[in-house]
């Protein structure tokens, strides 16, 4: 006898949580099942670097309390992989052979680490940097490791390198691109970061990647494409993630890089929803459909999916790439488009840099409206910029003020300011 659920959710991270919490705020009685490969309760993958660096203990990795599923009356089928979806019968086949029926199904399967082909990947002490499993393994290896190579100079790679550095390892970052964090920041910030990492003793090699992994059973070094050899006793592969789309493929959903969803997080099939790193939606700022593999985006996608699954109607009106990061003492925030200074096209970049104070601000404007920005150093109240971006406010009149460290609503011209704040203030009629 197949057990049927009103809602079945595959995956156990931000998107699933967003969905469950939304569902339960609307539908207190509908049955929910959650299917997840991992056996542990929901934790925050974004906290992995924090755990590794020893900033938090294991308990704090958990995103919700232990009784979360019970309290929200969710059948948590943990340690079970969903292997197939029968959209006709509306059933999901689990790895244990069990079938569960669904009325509405959410795919929140997330991503898998990207691992480029190279020799020697089968050796020990080679880790990816995505799951709880990964970090527990790395933690074990840390005891004997002294030198680590991190492949990938993106957000995850740099965070891993920072964490390893903090753990006393000598870390070495290898990045294929000409500078670190290239997709989200521009040259000055990359330079800031490279200098910062260098200052902390983390070597960064750019324009390079690993050709070969050396060693016996365990890794003891790598050879880069330019022939440079780096000895190490640990290798962390942090090249980014690719959407996990297998289930979507099996279900016959339309897929590009990720499972294509509309603004209601609906896939090409009725009653099938997708969100998070496995899904591909619309980037409001870029104006294209793309995968936005970010925690907030996943959670919000889950909420919207949940609302629609429960019979409501809610749309994801605005989303784009946004990142908040910090490396050592440097805080970074980026959002929207990262338009290179060399070839801005229709865009206008305005920026201020103070290497000494490690302060940088860049705003990318299109017709006077913010299309993207990068803040380094002073990031307080960054959300106001996002709000300006979201509301497509014309900032040309006060563009200079954007660089003000104390930028706030006081800096925004009267009309626009009240437009942005209106709903939350009592605006008395004052005749002057």
């Amino acid at each position: 006898m197949t057990q049927g659920f009103d809602y079945v959710i595959i995956g156990n991270s931000a998107g699933s949580m967003g969905c469950i919490e939304m569902l339960r705020s609307i539908d207190r009685s509908g049955t929910i099942a959650l299917v997840a490969e991992e056996t542990c309760r929901v934790y925050s993958r974004a906290l992995i670097p924090y755990y590794l660096a020893g900033q938090i203990d294991l308990e704090k990795m958990y995103y919700r309390k232990a009784d979360f599923y019970e309290k929200l009356n969710v059948a948590a089928l943990l340690g079970q992989k969903a292997v197939d979806i029968d959209t006709g019968k509306k059933e999901v086949l689990l790895s244990g052979g069990e079938r569960i029926g669904y009325n509405k199904l959410l795919l929140a399967t997330g991503g898998r680490p990207l691992i480029p082909p190279m020799e020697g990947l089968d050796k020990e002490n080679i880790f990816t940097f995505l799951n709880m499993d990964d970090v527990l393994k790395i933690e074990k290896a840390l005891k004997s490791a002294q030198r680590a190579v991190v492949l990938g100079g993106g957000v995850i790679g740099l965070m891993a390198a920072e964490a390893l550095c903090k753990k006393g390892l000598q870390a070495h970052v290898v990045e294929l691109a000409g500078r670190v964090l290239a997709p989200v920041v521009d040259e000055p910030v990359s330079s800031l970061l490279e200098a910062l990492f260098a200052e902390k003793g983390v070597q960064v090699t750019t324009n390079n990647t690993i050709k070969e992994i050396k060693g016996g059973s365990a890794v003891d070094g790598v050879v880069l494409t330019d022939g440079t050899q780096i000895s190490c006793d640990m290798l962390v592969l942090a090249m980014g993630v690719a959407p996990r789309i297998e289930l979507g493929v099996q279900a016959g959903l339309k897929i590009d890089r990720g499972i294509l969803v509309n603004e209601r997080m609906e896939t090409s099939q009725a009653d099938l929803y997708a969100c998070g790193d496995c899904a591909q939606g619309y980037d409001s700022v870029a104006g294209i459909s793309k995968v936005i593999p970010l925690w907030p985006n996943a959670y919000l996608g889950g909420r919207i999916a949940g609302a629609n699954m429960a019979g409501g109607r809610r749309e994801n009106v605005w989303s784009t790439n946004m990142n908040s990061m910090h490396f050592f003492d440097l805080c970074l925030i980026t959002a929207g488009l990262n338009v290179s200074a060399k070839d801005p096209g229709d865009f206008v970049n305005i920026s201020r840099l103070d290497m000494q104070k490690k302060y940088y601000r860049k705003f990318t404007l299109r017709e006077g409206r913010i299309a993207g920005f990068i803040l380094a150093g002073k990031i307080s109240r960054a959300g106001i910029f996002v709000n300006l971006m979201r509301t497509k406010a014309d900032v040309s009149q006060f563009a200079d003020d954007l660089f003000n460290e104390d930028f706030g609503y006081g800096s925004i011209p009267e009309n626009l300011r009240w437009e942005l704040l209106e709903k939350d203030l009592i605006l008395g009629v004052v005749n002057q």
């Binding site: 009629v429 004052v430 005749n431 002057q432």
Partner: protein, 504 residues
Amino acid sequence: MYSYLLPEFTIERKTDRCIKCRVCERQCPFGGHKYDPDFDAMSSFEEVCVGCQRCAVFCPTGALCVQPHHSQYKPNYNWTREKFQDLKKQAETGGIILTGSGNDKPYKVYWDHLVLNASQVTNPSIDPLREPMELRTFLGKKNDTLEIELNKEGFEIKNELNPNKMIELPVVFSAMSYGAISYQAFKSLAMAAKEVGTLFNTGEGGLPLEMRGEYGGNAVVQCASGRFGVDSEYLNCASIVEIKIGQGAKPGIGGHLPGEKVSLNVARNRMIPEGTDAISPAPQHDIYSIEDLSMLIYALKEATNYTKPISVKIAAVHHVAAIASGIVRAGADIVAIDGIRGGTGSAPKIIRDNIGIPIELALAAVDKRLRDEGIRNKCSVIAAGGFRCSGDILKAIALGADAVYIGTAALVAMGCTLCQKCYTGKCAWGICTQDPYLSKRLNPEIVSIKLVNLLRSWEREIKEMLGGMGINAIESIRGNRDHLRGVGLEGWELDVLGVKGAGE
């Protein structure tokens, strides 16, 4: 020119209590405090301090004390510090010294020399907590007689009544124009008047359109020498129309609202261009005689279709009684008399301090004169000029006033500390200013409550005093000088006041 003036105030800061929060710096419109990053401490600049006490009240740790400056010239009974400072100021500027608020010179305050009566044994005093105590008052001309007809349904009044405005408490806010005071202050007065069931006076600044519907019924609208803001709707939305001839603080002097206070909205309400000086001439140029006044009174009655009492406000001067009698005979329904202690937003100090007579004497003389002429019931008398408490008010009513105008007392309730710098337009309390940064300091929702509270507390006090006299309606104390006695007054003063000495 290097100034030889001594600072008026000293600012003492208890440094062990100062948390450098800079609230004082932000609250002082004169720049009396500043944070000094080099010392990491607050500095004070005493030479600009006007003693308004805003900083002392707002300092969250009570670190500030502002008091008269200790430095003094060699004490001299004749050449006081004030006279010194005025002389030096004039030597430096060559100008007329301006000031604000009311006369602060030690003229005899007759209220402090009059005492009220109370019942003992022969008639019971009344407990206002248990018995009704009525303060309702009518302002306007009373009919000489009523044609009362007895028909099937009972008695019916057949004749037309003179227009009267009913107020629940014989205390009315006196003329303070929007322009002289901030919109917020102006609106606070209107809100409080409405709440309590009394009146506010627009002064000569018009009544903003958006306020007419809601507050017109509680407005006394002024028609003064500049005729600012007067239009038909203005006159007709109001309860009472008042012709302003004079003001106690500056008898014989016009008004001058400097252009910088004439904001767009002030300009709109006064019907003058923004930023231009609003000059009210000393006389009304169409009133050079009592007949002229009568013509204006009747012009206003025509304009309001004889539905509103017309008031004429004068400053109390030497022949006030005769003038008041003429005004009543000219057709006025209300005579408002403003005594020498009446307030102002701006007046030459020499005028404010030296011209006019005390309201107590003026009121007594006017009431007596009108009674002697048998025309006291043909008008109401409103007394103004320095009423400080409900005792003053009840004494005024016993002397013969129908109601009193309060200005300064209301301002104090609103926050005013009588620093007398109204004319600078930088009122730290947001009252006498058009600077939007300062005027918003006055929140009409809060301040109107304070005004209401003030009136309510006076109402309670008046009821207590009335009850003590065994009187339960204000009309029974009006002009009832038997309940007043003089203390420390000379014979002529008792005569003018029409009261006996205490013990008689």
